[in-house]
Point group: C2
Chain length 244, copies 2
């Protein structure tokens, strides 16, 4: 499918401002201000100053909550985003209702108690984020995530991401029958995305610590329709056939 930029100049803008660099800036700023997120159900609320607001927006972490406070901005992070900033980038602390910071293991167990397949979701999320993809929820396309090469204002999402796991019971039960494959591929085609299946080779939902994820492997597969005509001959070496 290839990268589809949104209008002229978008590509140049993105190249001049690599995602890895902006994420580093966000990380430094959050560490500098000893930022803390408040656990709230399956998401985390975090206060942001003006600089951080810009960086959250540009890196596409969280969604801004509209409040009446003029000087303060609040961002709502998904559990995967919060855990990525806290466990992988070590730039925020997440505090519970008692205002005490939770450690990695506590937050990990809390997340799994709320959603059993959190380890798979997080492994897939962090796998893509670490490769500097911008990752957003994909439920509107019937997938787990969508992945953008850069900020969604500059470029269309390239991949519709489905997570499959070793254990069927813990997987989301997708792509087991041909009709589901047909449906998913047809939808991906109609919204110009490539289906990316991330297969997680280990079930960490019983693990007491996120360190379990380190030994997890992620197998990446893109799924496309096979076009027999296109694949029939190697176009570069084929000799013209006599027409019948």
């Amino acid at each position: 499918m290839g990268i589809r930029w949104k209008g002229k100049g978008a590509e140049a803008k993105a190249l001049a401002d690599p995602m890895s660099k902006i994420v580093s800036q966000l990380k430094c700023s959050l560490i500098e201000y000893d930022s803390r997120g408040l656990l709230s159900g399956f998401s985390v609320l975090i206060e942001a100053n003006e600089e951080q607001t810009g960086l959250f927006n540009r890196t596409c972490f969280g969604r801004r909550n509209i409040t009446t406070e003029k000087d303060k901005q609040w961002f709502q992070l998904s559990m995967e985003e919060a855990f990525y900033l806290s466990y992988m980038l070590k730039c925020i602390k997440v505090v519970g209702e008692d205002n005490c910071p939770t450690n990695d293991d506590e937050l990990w167990k809390y997340a799994i108690s709320k959603r059993n397949n959190f380890p798979n979701l997080f492994k897939a999320y962090s796998h893509l984020r670490m490769k500097n993809w911008v990752v957003r929820a994909g439920s509107q396309y019937g997938v787990d995530f969508v992945a953008y090469p850069h900020h969604p204002t500059l470029v269309y999402s390239e991949y519709a991401v489905l997570i499959l796991s070793v254990e069927d019971d813990n997987s989301n039960g997708r792509l087991r029958v041909w009709l589901d494959f047909h449906c998913t591929l047809r939808l991906c085609g109609s919204v110009a995305k490539t289906l990316l299946v991330l297969h997680i080779d280990k079930n960490c939902s019983a693990a007491t610590s996120p360190s379990c994820l380190e030994s997890c492997l992620v197998e990446e597969r893109t799924v496309t329709r096979w076009n027999p005509e296109q694949s029939r001959e190697n176009q570069t070496t084929v000799q013209k056939e006599p027409s019948n």
Copy 2:
């Protein structure tokens, strides 16, 4: 969604030529010529004279096979179509390799041996055909069938049909997770069809006779996205709210 006719005059054409009437004509013609279909894998080949060719085309049964024979036309019926014509309309006989006609029970067992969920596929197919819907394969939309109010040259298909059964093992495993729902509904929306779920309340795949189907009930459900704005107030009785 409503019926979407293909161009001017299509609706009048369809009304002047009800599907029930053409199917009756096909039935009479097939009985008159004592028509026989040849079992071939999971489909049935049937010879058609000129009149029957027209009726097969207009009723949308089978697909015409291109042969070099000029006077004879051959149609390839799906197993559901063949069983509908043979068991429900009693207008064709299906013969096996030995050229001996199979009876209903034999054909039934043969079909199940080839595809375990044939009873569900057939129940759903005949349920819609008996209500004069034109039913075609739906795999290109990731569903079991698509249903047209009349011939596909006159009207777009209105329903994307998924079959669910009582026993999970015998169902096609669809719509069990929200992401699959999202995917299916989004695709149906983008191709302007309504998702129709036919729930079959009994598993007949172990039955030795198709008479098992008579006690089967089909529950019909259409699935649409809920639009909170649209449903918020009854538009006909609502009083204008003061604007804030």
